[in-house]
Symmetry: C2
Subunit: 228 residues, 2 copies
DNA sequence: CAGCATAGTTGAACAAAGTTCAATCGCGCC
DNA sequence: GGCGCGATTGAACTTTGTTCAACTATGCTG
């Protein structure tokens, strides 16, 4: 039945796990087959026996990490607590795997992992009292917000890597980029005002606590619709 | 003063405009220096006289398209109408340039175009009555939602191009991908239910009207916070 | 136990794409 | 007419995804 291999042989799971590690540390464009092969202790081309293309690998890795999102129990909590917990867990997952946001913009990730998520989040909004079609859209709204929130950090990882590649000090160049952004912002009254108070460079990214703020606002809006 | 060139010579503006056209039709990974050169009627390497790197070009193109977003007049409308108009205009812009969502996840776009947008959107939420810090977060929430909404379509463009590259019929392969997604969804009760009613393949993307739905919910939530 | 089929690996090699560089071109100016 | 410099060119180098033919080792079958 199960063929037991004595030889040290690769498996798709092993490859996917290693790919996720590389993606986490190097970003979406830091993943390449040769260094992945090295990490696996085999030739880069051995991977192709198990996985069709790099795009496929990204899709598989992308779908795998959705499984890290915790699905709140719906029986013991009200919908809003559940919705908050799930969005927060997804947010945390995206912080661990910033490349997923990017991948979502280019690889059309849809597999069992994402389906598991979608199903549960629909359950939450149906429990809240939304009709099927509205539950769809409510879930989509939260999903899109959480995903969008991950793009800024993803950008930073990607950029740091790209800048650091050509020998130069990555941190310094990133800081430079940020300060150029600040310079641009200086020309606008409201942005300038912010630069005085807050850390200038952080402006391009989302300010602290903005995820919680946004999530609360969205759920408030959804809740209001239920009441109305 | 102004050096007038008789010879047909490239300008950065020309290059950026051509790059935007290519990006629109081919997606972020469809842009390459050689075909851009061809479109400009010059060697690919001539571009490097005017622009440092391809990454820079993407940043410049990305910042340029922000300028297509219309800034509503704040004196003649209430904040909510203005916020809706601006978000809708940005949504439309992203539909014209789906690659911008992707670029935002990898190139840390911040320039005059984006600053112009940020400034105006802060003005809207300050007018609404938010204190400076809250206006920041309110603006960020809407921004992230609109940006996130663009990732699905971007993904589709990117994928279509990638799939169509190797000779195969892009549409057919995309349909196949979608139906495989539908197959996965079949294993989950709530998703299956939707596949019965709606067009199955569209599920992975945002359903129709979900942008308007989400935007309304977010603004409802923000408005409630002002009242409370 | 010999030999064979087959799963799995390897390194060479190709193609696409970003970028560098030395050579050159052509325009305006002395 | 020749010089300088802004701008262009094509060749070439590098990185990276992928293919392919050769090879290896493992389990199976006679």
């Amino acid at each position: 039945m199960l063929a037991v291999m004595s030889r040290d042989t690769l498996t798709a799971d092993q490859i996917i796990r290693a790919a996720i590690e590389l993606l986490d540390s190097e970003g979406l464009d830091g993943l390449n087959m040769r260094s992945l092969g090295k990490r696996l202790g085999s030739a880069a081309t051995a991977i192709y026996w198990h996985i069709k293309t790099k795009d496929d690998l990204v899709r598989l890795a992308g779908d795998a990490v959705w499984n890290e999102v915790e699905l709140p129990d719906l029986d013991s909590t009200n919908w809003r607590t559940a919705a908050t917990a799930m969005a927060t867990s997804m947010h945390a997952m995206l912080a661990r795997h910033p490349w997923l946001g990017q991948a979502f913009g280019s690889h059309l990730l849809y597999g069992p992992g994402k389906a598991r998520l979608d199903d549960h989040s629909l359950a939450i909004y149906e429990k809240a009292g939304f009709a099927a079609a509205d539950a769809d859209q409510a879930a989509g709204t939260v999903f899109v917000f959480v995903l969008g929130s991950a793009l800024g950090p993803a950008s930073q990882v990607s950029l740091t890597r790209r800048l650091g590649k050509n020998g130069a000090d990555a941190e310094r160049l990133l800081a430079e980029t940020m300060s150029r952004a600040a310079e641009v912002a200086m020309e606008f009254p409201r942005l300038r005002e912010r630069l005085d108070t807050a850390a200038a460079a952080d402006y391009a990214m989302a300010p602290d606590g903005s995820f919680e703020f946004g999530l609360r606002a969205i759920l408030d809006g959804l809740e209001a619709r239920l009441a109305g």
